[in-house]
Amino acid sequence: MLRETYYEIIKIFTQKKNYVVIFGHLLMLLLCYVAFRTNNFHFIGGDVREMFGDITQFVDGMFFARLAALPTFMMIMPIFVSTIAGDIIAGEIQDGSLKLYLARPRSRSRLVASKMLAVFVVTLIYCIYFSVLCLVVGILLVGKPLGSQLIYMRGMGLGNSIVLMDLAGATWRYVLMTLYYSFSLMSLAAIVLFLSTLFNRMTAATVSGITLYFVCYIIERLPFAEKIAPYMLSRVMNYPDLYILEIPLGRFAGNMAALGLYVALFLMLSMISFSMKDIK
């Protein structure tokens, strides 16, 4: 299983199309920085300015990294994960390479599991890379992290957290956020993997996955959807509440359990669907 997973990771990393996301992310960072500078901190509400005085005393590389990491994890990574998970089975059916692979005595369930594991490893690597890159770009362009960190999440789709915490607390929450998103993206990956077993074309699986995610994302933000919003996939994926002073462990664990359930359910469905599939 580990060898199969290793081969799957090699296959993902040797496909040039999987590097497009790196350029997309760099462009996003650049635009984020330009927007950040040109806005002159007007995005921070007047009440906060009154409370903390000169807001620039809290603006540093980590402040920028936190702001840039959110669109990375909430927009770019779901698209990237949908692309690799959609390609990993349907793409190989489309290319014909799966016929070569499965004409040997191999377990299809094991293959699905190794592909899922490979998607997880690649997602983890990309999440860590993007996190570090946001931080490095922040430090280089905005400045070294300061002792006191202003956590400002208002308007980011993550509640109204306005918190002041020390650098160590903010740093380990940044790390935790990276790890949380690496796992939360697996629920989307499992769904797209399942779609990938249903379709014979990579684009069909990928576009379906991306559409599903963004439909949930849009619906949960509608003012009249507050009753169903907590059950939307994007809400479960994106609402870890990691940046408030006391992390609500019960809710965090509930989120993790819901994500785990998504992963287990769709991984199982993928295995069943793929085992019964005709590889034409």
Binding site: R3, Y7, I10, K11, T14, Q15, K16, D95, G96, S97, K99, L100, Y101, L102, A103, R104, P105, R106, S107, M276, D278, I279, K280
Partner: protein, 305 residues
């Protein structure tokens, strides 16, 4: 070795493979022929467990391919349709991933097979840079790598030039002769099949319309070709000789075509002609070409359907 029992595949109401039953013997080369869309690839995909049959079953060495895939395919190497490798990976990495092989024994075997398919020194190259012929040879290498006792090659000569065709034919014959490996090969080049196969199966509209030893199937219908010094005298003599001869046809330059009802009379014909001073320079049973056999059978099948 391979046994198909009432194998049927229905796609949206259309029978792509219709109730095919045959048994393939060990150590033989079976050529599966049929027009495009006849159901050859669908049949092979069921044999390798890639698709599920709508009815019937396939067994290899007594193991059901769909119920007991691991044991059934344990000694099978197969290339179905186009050998679609990962273009961004080297040939070595492709073979490693697709065959699942590793370790010193695998490396030794790989070196042997790569020598056999003439790809020495090209293992490090990305497959995307390979020519069509090289990809086909790499596909054959992949099928041979697991030291299989049963090899399935679907259209291995597709897109090859004449030299490539000769090369593939050589590999198939050599491998079968050296290791006694059972080989099932499909191609639309009938002359190729005729030169490599021991048995043939003709499939049309998803149905098996002929199966058996190629020499028996292509044997003329008790037809003899005789070239003699005096055709007119030979015809007169044989018509009144009381031998089991049904019909004599003078083809001119090609000599006489004699349809006999009993093969045992061939010696008598020769003896009777020689004894009467007619020199016999050629006496052969007329063998059909695979092309004529194929056309005859597929046309009959067209009329029947």
């Amino acid at each position: 070795m391979l046994q198909c029992n009432g194998l049927t595949k229905i796609y949206q109401g259309r029978r792509a493979v219709d109730n095919i039953t045959f048994e393939m013997r060990s150590g033989r080369v079976l050529g599966l022929v049929g027009p495009n869309g006849a159901g050859k690839s669908t049949l092979l995909k069921m044999v390798t467990g890639l698709i599920w049959p709508s009815a019937g079953n396939v067994t290899i060495d007594g193991h059901d391919v769909h119920q007991n895939q691991r044991q059934a395919l344990a000694n099978v190497g197969a290339i179905i349709e186009w050998p679609a490798f990962y273009p961004d990976l080297s040939a070595r990495r492709n073979l490693q991933i697709l065959s699942g092989g590793h370790g010193p024994d695998y490396e030794k075997r790989l070196a042997e097979i790569i020598r056999m398919v003439n790809l020495e020194g090209r293992l490090k190259d990305k497959v995307g840079r390979y020519s069509t012929g090289m990809k086909q040879r790499l596909g054959i290498a992949l099928a041979l790598l697991p030291d299989s006792r049963f090899i399935i090659l679907d259209e291995p000569t597709n897109g090859l030039d004449p030299l490539g065709l000769l090369e593939i034919r050589r590999i198939i014959r050599e491998y079968n002769r050296l290791f006694g490996t059972t080989i099932l090969v499909t191609t639309h080049l009938l002359s190729e099949i005729e030169q490599v196969a021991d048995d043939i199966a003709v499939i049309n509209h998803g149905r098996l319309i002929a199966f058996g030893d190629i020499d028996e199937l292509l044997a003329g219908d008790n037809l003899l070709k005789i070239v003699v010094s005096d055709s007119a005298a030979a015809i007169r003599l044989l018509e009144n000789a009381g031998l089991p001869i049904e019909k004599i046809h003078d083809t001119g330059d090609e000599g006489l075509h004699i349809k006999i009802t009993d093969c045992d009379c061939i010696g008598d014909i020769n003896e009777r002609l020689v004894r009467n001073g007619i020199r016999v320079s050629c006496l052969n049973p007329v063998r059909k070409t695979l092309e004529s056999f194929f056309l005859e059978n597929t046309e009959e099948n067209e009329h029947a359907s």
